[in-house]
């Protein structure tokens, strides 16, 4: 049933007069000036995305709206599917690292670390990784967490109208990415972590550079908070929108900052410490309401906690090797490869066959930018994974988006979706 004006074609052909089946205004409508009389409306279906700036080009939500109210929502993901899990079966474990860069592309190093830890768990060498390598992984992981949250908070703020904080936060992210470029050789697709350690040692002035950048970031974050935390336009869009209770969030499988916004203090770094996270003193920020504002505030506080971890890690980082000294697992140093037959053979064996992992399966989980980032690996004893599955946190968050937006206004979708922080590369894999 179509409601509304006749189309131009119908007017020209005279068909409009024949359309008796269309709903008509009540007799005398508009004459008695009864503003309380219900308008004859009917639900309308609109497509939000995939070509919508707030939908990242990777999500489509088929909305059924009644006026401004969302009645039904059908969230369709998969626009960025590129067979990560299948591709991984045809790549050696080392070759998977460039693919993991492209999972959550605002915090690629966290994915690198997550995958390396899954492979190491399967190899049974989790406790043999050199301490310096573990500290480097913590450093790059926390820098990536900050870039992840900066992007999420900045972009979401921009989507609700706060453009200046976006520019300031992206400026901070740029400083951090410049630092990571110096360290890893690439701004975004780092491919820096390897099984058994990392690809290269820290640069000479890394600690000082990082401290300088963190000081500048702290200053910028104070300014950002002055602009938006008490700004009523921002607060009206965020407060009390998309509220979810802790029980529901747990039932949906939420993790990460979104779960913590409901008051559940689950953080993999605290509850199941990996690497050297048990040596740092940091708090787990939780919210009290579970609305969009809490998700924003938890992310802001998490950045501060990450900075605390970074400073402690810089103080504590020991000297030593940055990768495991085992030619079966990590490549031998170049001087050995160039000059000794043992080094050369180990090097060739590992490149051609990959790191051979004994048959078995392992699930390893780390705290990613959006929540628990898990890698499930099955090995058949060769140098390539038999099966590789990613527990992408935002894929699981996405299933609850209809619940969050049904009943809300169309304009509430934007901050809700922004605070879920769905990253296409990770969600669709």
């Amino acid at each position: 049933m179509v409601f509304g004006m006749p189309t131009p074609d119908e007017i020209v052909s005279g068909a409009a007069r024949e359309l008796r089946s269309r709903p008509q205004f009540p007799p005398g409508f508009g004459e008695d000036a009864d503003d309380d009389a219900p308008l004859p409306t009917e639900p309308m279906t609109i497509n939000m995305g995939p070509s919508h700036p707030a939908m990242h080009g990777t999500v489509r939500i088929i909305l059924t709206v009644d006026g401004e109210t969302v009645k039904e929502a059908d969230v369709q993901v998969g626009y960025l599917h590129r067979c990560f899990e299948k591709e991984a079966e045809y790549a050696t474990y080392t070759q998977v690292f460039p693919y993991t860069d492209r999972l959550n592309y605002v915090s690629p190093l966290l994915n690198n670390v997550g995958f390396a830890m899954a492979a190491e768990k399967l190899l049974g060498i989790s406790d043999k990784i050199p301490e310096r390598a573990q500290y480097i992984r913590v450093l790059i992981g926390e820098i990536s967490r900050i870039t992840d949250h900066l992007t999420c908070v900045g972009a979401s703020g921009m989507e609700v109208g706060a453009f200046t904080p976006f520019l300031w936060m992206i400026k901070c992210r740029e400083w951090l990415w410049e630092l990571l470029e110096e360290l890893t050789g690439a701004r975004l697709t780092h491919s820096y972590v390897r099984i058994g350690g990392v690809a290269a040692d820290l640069t000479d002035n890394f600690a000082q550079r990082l401290r300088d950048v963190l000081a500048k970031c702290r200053e910028a974050m104070v300014d950002v908070e002055k602009l938006i935390v008490k700004n009523r336009i921002f607060r009206d869009r965020m407060d009390g929108v998309a509220v979810i209770s802790a029980e529901e969030a747990v039932a949906y499988g939420w993790t990460g900052p979104c779960l913590r916004s409901t008051g559940v203090p689950y953080d993999v770094r605290k509850d199941h410490p990996y690497l050297v996270y048990d040596r740092f003193d940091f708090d787990v920020p939780v919210g009290s309401t579970g609305d969009n504002y809490d998700r924003f505030a938890v992310r802001m506080e998490e950045m501060r906690q990450s900075m605390r971890i970074l400073e402690q890690a810089l103080d504590q980082i020991p000297a030593g090797p940055f990768k495991l000294d085992d030619p079966r697992i990590s490549l031998p140093p170049k001087s050995q490869v160039y000059n000794t037959i043992e080094g050369m053979i180990g090097h060739f064996k590992q490149i051609v066959d990959g790191v051979k992992i004994p048959p078995g399966e392992a699930y390893s989980y780390t705290e990613g930018g959006n929540g628990e980032l898990g890698f499930y690996l099955v090995s058949d004893g060769t140098g390539r994974p038999y099966r590789c599955h990613v527990r992408a946190p935002c894929f699981i968050l996405m299933q609850s988006v209809p619940k969050l937006i049904i009943g809300a206004g169309v304009a509430d979708i934007i901050p809700t979706f922004g605070m879920i922080n769905m990253i296409g590369g990770e969600c669709d894999r």
Partner: protein, 208 residues
């Protein structure tokens, strides 16, 4: 925002995933939700916000304190030494290509962008690449080829990134293109001579 937080402890579930000793409690910080009269009546906070932007405006006007703009075509940011850019092939002392066509880089390349056709050199002990092509359109710039090279023949430290080309074929770099960017390698190789161990320590051990 951190002004109104409350500290409490939360008994964390046991069963660590792996790793050393751990603390029994989790320090939890409840994030604040500032809600004040001046915020509700809208104008004072708008004025404060304008104060922040005005601070930035005048600081930038007089000292460019907060600006990070690089006037791109005139100024260029220099890439850091570890930056991965276009590939190059290194030379031996006699100017020949260092590559011995061992096929490790096409093997390790996740994007299958390297093509090598080996040929005899006439030496009997050696071979060399007859064709060495890298499709820079396929390359994902991961640097695994540099890490895999056992004779310091391929490097990505040119400091140039792949530029726009008129035709796809122009993005496929051949052996001569790659050698043109190359230089004589200083890597000590082969283990010959009595002092190779002392020399080898000075070579590049890291290939990010």
């Amino acid at each position: 925002m951190a002004a109104s937080h409350a500290e409490k402890t939360h008994a964390a579930p046991a069963a660590p995933q792996g790793g050393g000793p751990r603390k029994g409690t989790v320090a939890v910080r409840v994030v604040g939700r500032p809600d004040s009269l001046e915020q509700r009546i809208y104008l004072p906070e708008v004025v404060k916000g304008l104060g922040v932007t005005a601070k930035h405006f005048f600081a930038n006007l007089f000292s460019r304190k907060y600006t990070v703009t690089v006037e791109y075509p005139e100024q260029k940011v220099k890439y850091p030494p570890r930056n991965r850019g276009l590939h190059r092939l290194m030379h031996r002392e006699d100017g020949e290509v260092r590559c011995v066509a061992c096929m490790l880089c096409p093997t390790v390349c996740p994007a299958h962008c390297i093509t090598i056709v080996p040929e005899e050199t006439g030496n009997g002990n050696e071979k060399r690449p007859k064709v060495f092509e890298i499709d820079e359109l396929r390359c994902v710039v991961c640097g695994l080829c540099v890490e895999a090279c056992p004779c310091d023949a391929i490097r990505m430290d040119t400091g140039e990134h792949a530029t726009a080309v008129d035709f796809r074929a122009d993005a496929i770099l051949g052996k001569l293109d790659l050698l043109k960017r190359g230089a004589a390698s200083t890597a000590v190789q082969g283990g010959v001579g009595g002092d190779w161990r002392a020399k080898a320590d000075k070579t590049r051990d890291e290939t990010p």
